[in-house]
Amino acid sequence: MADLGADATGIVPATRTLPLAGFHGGSAAAVLSAAVPATRLSLRAGPDAVQALSGALGLSLPVQPKTSAFADGRHALWLGPDEWLVIDENEADLMAAVSASGALHSATDISHRNTAILVKGRSAAAAINGGCPQDLSLTAFPVGACSRTVLAKAEIVLLRTAEDAFRVECWRSFAPYVSGLLTEAAEDAGN
């Protein structure tokens, strides 16, 4: 029998299929690629739990609109007055981390609900503006700014990771639509 990679218990670990595995596209001015897998948490909590949750996650949860925090491969994005999207690019167990906080909160693991597309290049903002109505100038949307918004008909969460780089989080069922629309917009944004 072929070796399927079974571990000591005889269980063959399932291979994870990414919705946008191997996706590349865009133009020289706005390069698109699929982000590596990450764990994600939809976190909701009142203001009195923010400090304990921040300690448990190892970063300080942002409380100002449109801001995010980053520490050691982990992002915390302000989505609403009591709502955050936590992304860990090292695939750490975020549920265990917040469970240990001891503070009242609601957490849902959405690692597999979302996928992300990275947009990078001098016309990255123009490519996203192809479907997103927000002002993405550096004064209105500086590095580290984040927002839940729309990209044409799909809901996305947008995070500016550098002056010329964005992370576009969308639901995995919307991934073909969002990637296709961004590909078109990136081509329109020039070379």
């Binding site: 609109p65 989505l79 609403g80 007055p81 927000q134 927002s147 839940r148 918004t149 729309v150």
Partner: protein
């Protein structure tokens, strides 16, 4: 495209991120089991559909997700102000500028309909 000020995000966003969510300041009755059908109908179904200044609930659906209240002119579609849910109705007299330009509506310019 309309820009709507979200009191929770503290900035103006495109109307595409918002949804209207009915009239604002509708008090839910505390004696719902005892009230008459007519009173319940009035609370539950009947709305004024005002022409002019109305107070509405709006939701920043594709943003912070929060409901808030807005004072909007249904003739010009202009948002006079927005404020957080739970706050009292703002003073109407402070909302309208004294010398607000007349809005050109079809009725005012083309039609004789009154």
């Amino acid at each position: 495209m309309l820009l709507i000020y979200c009191p929770y995000c503290e900035e103006e966003r495109s109307e595409l991120e918002f949804r209207q969510a009915g009239d604002a300041h509708i008090a839910r009755p505390t004696n719902m089991t005892e009230m008459s059908d007519e009173d319940f109908e009035a609370f539950f179904f009947l709305r004024d559909n005002i022409k002019g200044l109305t107070f509405e609930r709006w939701r920043h659906l594709n943003g912070c997700g929060r409901f808030f209240n807005a004072a909007r002119d249904t003739v010009s579609d202009k948002f006079l102000t927005t404020y957080k849910a739970g706050l009292p109705r703002p003073d109407v007299s402070t909302l309208r500028p004294a010398t607000e330009a007349t809005v050109e509506t079809y009725e005012a310019t083309e039609s004789n309909a009154k």
